[in-house]
Amino acid sequence: MTESSDKKTPATSGKAAVKKAPARKKTVAKKAAKKVAAKKAAPKKAAVRKTAARRKTSARKAPAAKPVSVLIVGAGFAGLGMAIRLKQAGIEDFVILERGNAVGGTWRDNQYPGAACDIPSNLYSYSFAPNPNWSRSFSGSAEILDYIHHLVARFDLEKHIRFEKNVVDLSFDEKQGIWTATTDRNETFAGRAAVMAQGPLSNCSFPDITGIEDFQGHKIHSARWDHDYDFAGKHVAVIGTGASGIQIIPELVKVAKHVKVFQRTPGWVLPRPDFTTPDWNKALFRKLPVSQQAMRNLLYWSHESMALAVIWNSPLTRVAERLAKLHLRRQVKDRWLRRQLTPDFTIGCKRVLISNDYYPALQKDNAKLITWPIARISEKGIRTVEGIEHQVDCIVFATGFDVSHSGTPFTVKGRGGRVLGEEWKGGARAYKSINVSGFPNLFMTFGPNSGPGHNSALVYMESQLDYAVKGVKKILNEDLTLLDVKEDEQRRYNRAIQKRLAKTNWNSGCKSWYLTEDGYNATMYPGFATQYAAQMAEFDESHYETV
């Protein structure tokens, strides 16, 4: 994408004349916003708070003077991807609000030992920003974070990011057609469109286990790793054997004196075809980008084929389960341990785990798998129901994330003051995972029913980003106040989605983070990535109310 082509895009439209005036306004608005932002950087916090409070009031009264075209909440993969696509579409006046002081979101936070993506890097990256230098087929989180930093530098995104802006409220002014984000320091930012890119796996907390506050040792959550803690010579407990747990355990076993692994439900584990990328391969990808695209296509279609095993219960599901059992049998010789590690749900119902070193690590002399239920945490360790207190120096909680299926991470107020969290009480629902009726000009990344179980989340993400760009362009080009999906279209869409979900493995009876307590699936998309992409490729204007 070149600069010139960026600029050409809007001008070629017949609606350009309509658009130009607001575009000019936007430039002025952008300058004003910059001034405001500069002022906000003033050192005295109390003063900032006061002026921010005043600004908030004025912003709500007359927000039209300041708004940028797009407000993006979150500077992880989603928010940065959105920014890149907006830039490539010629939309430059956007602001990214990031609660942390660095980019990277989930990959910035999840830097525990062994952290890696279970999708091959050539597929877990943006097709519009390929990286020929991936060092391994499945790269670790540090390398993925480097890639994210590289995206920021390559697309010059840093100037758009406002760090340490923790959004607590996002409200829509129906008359002006403006979204206003308010931070926890009462700063406000306004935009004509808003993109919620806060990520589905961004919040975590210690689990609600009796006595957790009594523990006198050290506690670490996998998603907020304590890099200063030295595990050498320590007795360590790991609670949780999901995607994070199985990556952490082999690393801890290498350094700690003893590792006890507390498992509630074993997951299906498939071998990981992991290898170091040879130099000639990197050189080939650099010199001949089409070869990397071919590799990506190969990976894409092989993952697509896995949908048949993972999403629906088919003969291929049995093949996948047999493969996982073979992997277990090959790596674990003891019958009882094998039984403890054998899942009793259909493969795919929970996230499929990928690892070559998890089973061997559990069998090391300094490791032990414990499947007794946890009765409570005590001062010195973990008491399990078989009556024994397992004493440890440190407990690692690999217990996953606080995934919200029925709320929003911050208050989102739409038309007529309706609150999204309240509308989602019975389970989140949206139109094509991206828009919600009553919340115009708002786009979601990883919204309800957008999750893949078999393919790269970033493949799904690209479809969402491009859809959002279409929506944003429509708002800007036609100078719309509202672009709101019709309620009956949203209802029709959800009815169809839930009907399709009922037939999937996710809804086949196991408990997972994909489902609400009542078993409502607000997380996954029941189909191939190709189907999802086709759904998102079409922007049906007749499904929207425009003002």
Partner: protein, 310 residues
């Protein structure tokens, strides 16, 4: 309807957990074991501990097959609780100087055969087979043995431990009988046909062939220890009484089968049953220990130590 609410039961189970460290195993009272009692008690405790442990494995199998999530979780807890009982009984043995260092007491041959059977086939058994046999074993052996123990042993720590164990066991039996009644709710003809199909399963036949001599062997053991035979039979009759208290319970064909079998066991004059089964006990008694396969690794999970770092 005598059934219990399983969800409430699960909540109760979770809220009433105890650990070995709740008991002071070095408190005074160990000296109350008489010299005469000591050798018999040693064997008795070893058997008891192994029965708990075998029960634990049966609950593990039940957890795999449980028809509902609640029941699966309950059985998962029961599996661990039975293990806790075995651990506590080992702690008592250690207190009384009955453990040889770190050694786990040797199970008798009939128990070894049951362990082997459970390890190989228990997970394949339908939930209602084990769901009926386990309450019988618990009520008969556990119930009778525990009562006998508390009648004869004066050590207060033993009483303290068994108060906790018995509280758990009463919940195990409550759930056991409720599950038996659940099975009796469907049409009995279908149950009968399904049961006959199961009975013909060679794996189950092997199980029956191990279960029958175990009962007789245990009977011989408890008599050798001075427990009046009638106490054991009384406990077994309790199974018949509680299991058959409701229409649903009586309609469960597995209950009927186990009940009748119980009657044969308690009727010493039934030569048709006792002569061949006692013969089996003798035969298994002759089996050299070396001929038995190595114990599965779940057996090695037993420990008398309230805390563990490895």
């Amino acid at each position: 309807m005598a059934s219990i609410d399983l969800d409430k039961m699960l909540a109760k189970i979770k809220s009433t957990q105890w650990a070995l460290s709740d008991i002071d195993w070095d408190a005074p009272g160990a000296e109350l074991i008489t010299e005469e009692q000591w050798p018999k008690l040693k064997e008795f405790m070893a058997d008891l501990m192994w029965i708990e442990h075998v029960g634990a494995r049966a609950f593990a199998a039940l957890a795999k097959k449980a028809p509902t999530d609640t029941l699966r979780e309950i059985y998962t807890y029961f599996h661990a609780e039975e293990q806790r009982h075995a651990n506590a009984e080992m702690a008592l043995m250690r207190r009384w100087g009955m453990l040889d260092g770190e050694e786990i007491p040797e199970p008798n041959v009939n128990l070894r055969i049951i362990i082997e059977w459970l390890d190989r086939f228990a997970d394949e058994m339908p939930v209602y087979v084990l769901g009926t046999v386990v309450p019988m074993l618990e009520i008969a052996l556990d119930g009778a043995l525990c009562t006998f123990l508390l009648d004869t042993v004066k050590d207060p720590v033993c009483h303290q431990a068994f108060e906790k164990i018995n509280d758990d066991e009463s919940r195990h039996l409550g759930v056991g009988f409720t599950v038996m009644e659940m099975q009796g709710r469907s049409a009995s003809y279908i149950n009968m046909v399904q049961m006959m199909a199961r009975v013909m399963d060679p794996r189950l036949i092997l199980g029956i062939a191990s279960y029958m001599p175990l009962l007789n062997k245990m009977r011989d053991n408890v008599i050798a220890m001075g427990l009046p035979e009638e106490k054991l039979y009384k406990a077994m009759k309790k199974f018949e009484r509680i299991g058959g208290r409701t229409e649903e319970g009586r309609r469960n064909p597995w209950f009927q089968l186990i009940k009748h079998h119980g009657r044969w066991v308690t009727n010493r004059s039934n030569k048709i049953y006792h002569v061949p089964v006692d013969g089996l006990v003798k035969l298994t008694g002759l089996m050299p220990r070396r001929a038995l396969p190595a114990v599965p690794s779940w057996v090695k999970e037993l420990t008398w130590q309230p805390t563990a770092t490895h």
